[in-house]
Amino acid sequence: MRELTYGQGIKEGMRIKMLENPDVCIFGEDVGLFGGCFGVTAGLFEEFGEKRVRDTPISEGAIIGAAVGSAAVGLRPIPELMFVDFATVGMDQLVNQAAKMRYMFGGKLNLPMVVRLPSGGGVAAAAQHSQSLEAWFTHVPGLKVVYPSNAQDAIGLMLTAIDDDNPVIYLENKTLYAMPGEVEDEVKPIPFGKANIKKEGSDVTIISYGKQVYDALKAAELLAKDGIDAEVIDLRSLYPLDKEAIVESVKKTHKVVLVSEEAKRGAYTGDVAAMIAEECFYECDAPIKRVGALNCPIPFSSVLESYVLPSAEDVVQAVKSLF
């Protein structure tokens, strides 16, 4: 066992595959010498050189497009956009090209590419640098979407993502980059579609991913004091989704709260809630609650931002409302 930060975990996943396979390469804005806006690629430029870790012009469409084209003819690129918010600039290349090409061409092309997208608020970066857009990506057939919450999962999911022959959206929470975590000496790939039960419990299921896993765990602790035994699920992979783990848990607890930091309206958690309401309605004996960010852009001022983003306290309240 050793300790790595979340950011280092992401890097380690990439590095392992880069050592293994010369076709794996990284490009994006300031990913080279600068090491990326959040330092995630720091050192890789020095280790692998400019060919494999390449700075791009500020052209998000070109970054994604170049990933599509190079994946189509044999590379396994890992393009990085500096913030998920900038995916809006290259959205066509992601949604109409990367996600659909295989299908439109009758299954005759593979597009192995991993798009890294730093997400979320909490760093006073305001409305255009703090969004959570997983709901958009999970709505697009042809994309897989993962969102690790800790260093070990970051590595394991990255290994799987790079080996996957389909476009993978790899979301990262920027407030977690510096967070240290225990990591096995040799991390194994984590299969997509396998949730992680972070804490077992019998009274309520709290479903979350990314940063909110910590809110969920903290809420579980607080709830324990009130005699409520919460189960906490870290989805890890948003698509494919581990329905089985969810259904199993709901069958046990009969109560569900979903947590994410997306604007609540139209959030990914809504889709999971709807799935539960459709596929295991009779197992639920209380409203399916959701906790998210408020339905406004993320404000700059930290007092406002922390009010807008969800907290462990919000999760506690949501759970308590079910009892």
Partner: protein, 328 residues
């Protein structure tokens, strides 16, 4: 530039293949046998032909919504193309793509594309892979005049120029983006001028002269293979049909079309062939007949093919996951 007779015959063959395929598609659409959006290449055959004749089989192209010509010129099989227009399971895309998405990666065809301008960056990606792997392959990127106002044109040319990618950018300037004439969608006459913005060579050629296109592209391909980076080639041409089948073309004068028909690229090559004894008239006629047959075979193939099984609709989204189908 000296062209061999084989070269010339190959080019001529491609051109009439395109023309005949497109004429047939036009009739099939008029008869209601094929549907969707069909954008025909009639009148522009010299461009795709001149470009693709400069390429090797292991080179790549990206195409557009008006892709049939590019695909045929790069070696696409008429049968699978026609079957795709009919939405049949034997089509290039198993009926999933249709006219706007025909692709054949084995022939280096990275697909027609329904999004105007989408190919610019994808072509850069292909070029990047060749550069990365140290092969001397190139990717030719086709696009229309109006697409040169799209965001991606700029991103793609800048990237290719900065990284010296082996990409040849081929602009088919047919004077219109749907109903909007070039003068109304941009403030320049020669699109090759835009090369200045990226400090790469830019050249304008007669897009109805297959030899001129071939020559320009050959040079650009040679540069690209040598690692000297991209070139922008503007080919001035004209589309004879409406933007898509069904377009009444109210936005352009009939005389304009008539003028351009006089510059039909095909008779120009025929004239050259006959004048230079590349083929006899009889051989020419025979070739034409052969291709008529080929096109009819393609139609028969398409007609004889089955519609795809509905269960296949949910396949091919991913390499591994198969989505749920309808339960009804």
């Amino acid at each position: 530039m000296k062209l061999s007779n084989e070269n010339i015959i190959e080019m001529y063959t491609k051109m009439i293949r395109i023309r005949k395929f497109e004429n047939r598609a036009m009739n099939l659409f008029a008869e209601g046998q094929i549907g969707g959006f069909v954008h025909l290449y009639i009148g522009e055959e010299a461009v795709a032909t001149g470009v693709c004749s400069s390429l090797r089989p292991d080179d790549y192209i990206t195409s557009t919504h008006r892709g049939h010509g590019h695909i045929i010129a790069k070696g696409g099989d008429l049968k699978y193309m026609m079957a795709e227009l009919f939405g049949k399971e034997t089509g290039y895309c198993k009926g999933k793509g249709g006219s706007m998405h025909i692709a054949d990666a084995t022939k280096g065809i990275l697909g027609a594309n329904g999004i105007v301008g989408a190919g610019h960056n994808i072509a850069c990606g292909a070029g990047l892979a060749f550069q990365y792997k140290g092969t001397d392959q190139v990717c030719a990127c086709f696009f229309g005049d109006a697409s040169t106002n799209q965001s991606t044109f700029h991103e793609g040319l800048n990237l290719a120029s900065t990284w010296k990618l082996p990409v040849v950018f081929v602009c088919e300037n047919n004077g219109y983006g749907i109903s909007v004439s070039q003068a109304r969608h941009q403030n320049i006459t020669d699109i090759s001028q835009r090369a200045v913005a990226y400090n790469i060579p830019g050249i304008t050629v007669d897009g109805n002269d297959v030899f001129a296109v071939y020559e320009a592209v050959n040079e650009a391909v040679a540069r690209a293979r040598k690692g000297q980076g991209p070139t922008l080639i503007e080919c001035k041409t004209y589309r004879w049909r409406g933007h898509f089948e069904g377009d009444p073309t109210v936005y352009r004068p009939v005389e304009e079309l008539e003028q351009w028909k006089k510059k039909d690229p095909i008779p120009r090559v025929e004239k050259y062939i006959l004048e230079n004894n590349v083929m006899t008239q009889a051989e020419l006629d025979q070739l034409n007949t052969d291709i008529d047959v080929l096109v009819e075979e393609a139609v028969d193939f398409a007609l004889d093919s089955k519609m795809p099984d509905v269960a296949s609709a949910v396949e091919d989204v991913y390499t591994d996951i198969v989505e749920e189908g309808r339960t009804r």
